[in-house]
């Protein structure tokens, strides 16, 4: 509780630099020159108290995020073999029979020799799950949200696990006998994981 009070104070302090604070300052500055019948505007409350509390079911239905540590991954599991069937039925028409891509859907499968990650230098290199995606959990999160593009949200969790397993196996990231579930998927380390760096641009002279 004490922590939360601190947090509130922290946010409130930060907010003091915000537009509301500016407005309050402006109000005070102009008070001296106001006509005699003008009173100060009401002091603003710490919060206005609008909105309602979401139900547990709405929270559960809406909060579908899957984090890199596996937080948010649901029950269920899927094998590479099961995934091949899901892929053929739901994905292949856009992404090609083996993930090679078509005019309507990007290539999903492919690795570079030594995972060279020459994307900066070679504009022809196509990014795939295997050669570019840093986290396997992102694949689950994205497929469950947005795929297949004509019917997003239509796959059961086990179907998502299965198709993720299939794509990871096609990319040579996991064995063809592997089964993906909340524990095994979170443990997968993607080949490009260490290639990503945080933004070091800061403005000022010089180009990065």
């Amino acid at each position: 509780m004490r922590r939360s009070v601190l947090a509130l104070a922290l946010v409130a302090a930060a907010c003091d630099r915000g537009p509301l604070a500016e407005r309050a300052t402006r109000r005070q500055q102009t008070l001296g020159s106001q006509p005699a019948d003008v009173r100060p505007a009401p002091e603003l409350p710490a919060r206005f108290g609008v909105g309602r509390t979401p139900s547990d079911s709405q929270l559960a239905a809406w909060d579908v995020d899957v984090a890199p540590d596996g937080a948010g991954l649901p029950q269920g599991s899927g094998s590479v073999t099961q995934g091949a069937a899901v892929y053929a039925a739901k994905c292949a028409s856009c992404h090609g029979a083996s993930g090679e891509g078509t005019l309507t859907g990007p290539m999903l499968v492919g690795r570079e020799p030594q995972d060279s990650f020459r994307f900066g230098r070679d504009p022809k290199l196509v990014k795939t799950v295997g050669n570019y995606w840093p986290y396997a959990t992102t694949l689950f999160d994205y497929v469950r949200r947005a795929m297949p593009i004509s019917a997003p949200g239509s796959l059961a969790n086990s179907e998502v696990y299965a198709v993720v397993a299939y794509l990871l196996a096609q990319n040579g990231v996991i064995e063809a006998t592997a089964v993906m579930d909340s524990a095994t998927l979170a443990a997968v380390k993607m080949p490009a994981r260490e290639r990503f760096v945080r933004d070091d641009r800061k403005g000022g002279p010089g180009f990065k």
Partner: protein, 446 residues
């Protein structure tokens, strides 16, 4: 598999398609004329014959015109007869037909016709689009914004709730981080400013400061990021550092004085001034306070910047300083030697534009352009340099510097650091070539 012949394409290329913005020059289409006539509720007047005794100037007709094409008559002397009456919605003059392009793209973009605009404000119906699963159509009465996660009071706000809270308005640009990709990857002499850089727009956004909303829900001390999710069919999601919320982020529900257009996030979107457009999640329906990023698809496999050194830069939110001359530019043709304004737009996601320099000799020498006041932070800034063209071939270029002292790099500097394959944040110096006959084309080597 041969990479050259690989049918797989990066979906990121949709951020900056190369398609032409249409036939250069003013052409009036039947559709445009009908729309203008209908919107003015004065079609009968517009389409009527000129008053007796008056000649009429025909509005140019499409070359493919047939008897079916509506003809619109403009009186030779508008002082001799009353014009059309008042109307519910203003329509553009039938002589003006700015258009976004390309159209009909569900997962991709349409670009703002920068060459058709004056000053700094983008009309709402010309703001660029970038969709990942089409335009979400949302009933405002059913709209909800849920804020949860590391907060004291998980809360669902209706649109009415948002409008009850104190509002803030701010004029800022919004630019897709893929803006300029086509000009970098596949430059063509016949590119318009729209083709080159049309994924940036600028105007006045109104909404609720995130600080206001975060006070309502009580952000916990352990929160360091928030994750924003859109209500479109992609449920597009991005993770944003909490500091940005405390600085100047807002949930915007209006643009240029009216509710957001559906293509730009109606009824509400996240707006992060100076940050790449993709992070300003449209149709936003959920903010989750968290202790780290979610590593969503659009902050890992997309919207990361491969660099020449074999790494990829992640969470590269800020749009660095950039500029583009919008006139003279392709497909314009200069009438002849003499004084002309060289005019364009400059902007920076780090603050105000401090100066814009213009070169008329391909970057060897530079002159300081005039900036139109007020110069707003994180907003398009109009620059102009009056120039007396002597009729000789020339390459004109612009180079912006922002208030942090950052200056746009040259193409060579850009290529050296980022590499020929880099994917976003194309902010190097560009220009236009003017031929002695007055033709203007995109300078493919900046």
């Amino acid at each position: 598999m041969e990479k050259d012949t690989n049918p797989g394409r990066s979906e990121a290329t949709d951020d900056a398609q190369i398609e032409s913005a249409g036939t250069p020059g003013q052409r009036l289409t039947r559709r445009g004329l009908l729309a203008a006539a209908a919107a003015s509720a004065s079609g009968a007047v517009l389409a009527s014959l000129p008053a007796a005794g008056q000649t009429s100037a025909r509005v140019p007709q499409p070359a493919t015109g047939s008897a079916a094409v509506e003809s619109v008559s403009i009186p030779a002397d508008p002082t001799r007869a009353p014009g059309p009456p008042t109307s519910a919605l203003g329509a553009r003059s039938p002589f003006e037909q700015p258009a976004r392009a390309p159209t009909g793209v569900t997962s991709g973009s349409s670009m703002t016709p920068l060459q058709a605009l004056s000053g700094t404000i983008t009309p709402a119906d010309l703001v660029f689009e970038r969709h990942h699963a089409g335009v979400a159509l949302i009933d405002p009465a059913r709209y909800q914004l849920m804020i949860h996660g590391l907060v004291e009071r998980p809360t669902v706000f209706s649109l009415a709730d948002l409008r009850r809270l104190p509002s803030v308005s701010r004029t800022v640009f919004l630019e897709c981080s893929g803006n300029g990709r086509a000009a970098f990857r596949a430059p063509k002499a016949e590119m318009t400013p729209q083709n080159v850089d049309g994924l940036t727009s600028n105007g006045e956004w109104t909404g609720v400061a995130l600080t206001t909303l975060f006070r309502e829900v009580g952000v916990r001390r352990t929160a360091s990021w928030f994750r924003a999710e859109g209500g479109d069919a992609a449920r597009l999601s991005r993770s944003i550092p909490l500091e940005k919320a405390l600085a100047d982020a807002m949930i915007a529900y209006a643009f240029n004085g009216e509710p957001l257009r559906p293509a730009n996030g109606y009824p509400a979107r996240l707006l992060l001034p100076g940050y790449e457009g993709n992070s300003c999640v449209k149709w936003v329906r959920r903010l989750e306070l968290a202790d780290g990023p979610g590593m969503f698809r659009d902050e890992t496999s997309k919207y990361t910047d491969p660099l020449a050194d074999g790494t990829s830069r992640q969470f590269s939110f800020v749009m660095d300083a950039k500029s583009l001359i919008t006139a003279p530019a392709y497909p314009e043709r200069l009438a002849g030697a003499g004084w002309i304004p060289i005019s364009g737009l400059a902007w920076s996601g780090r603050g105000r534009i401090a100066r814009v320099d213009v070169s008329v000799d391909g970057g060897r020498n530079w002159m300081r352009a005039e900036l139109q006041e007020p110069v707003l932070a994180l907003a398009h800034t109009r620059f102009t340099l009056m120039w007396e063209w002597d009729g000789a071939a020339a390459t004109i270029m612009s180079r912006a510097t922002d208030e942090t002292g950052y200056t746009q790099p040259t193409l060579a500097e850009f290529r050296a650091k980022r590499g020929a394959g880099t994917d976003y944040h194309f902010n190097y110096i560009r220009g236009w070539v003017i031929q002695p006959d007055g033709r203007v084309s995109f300078a493919m080597e900046g």
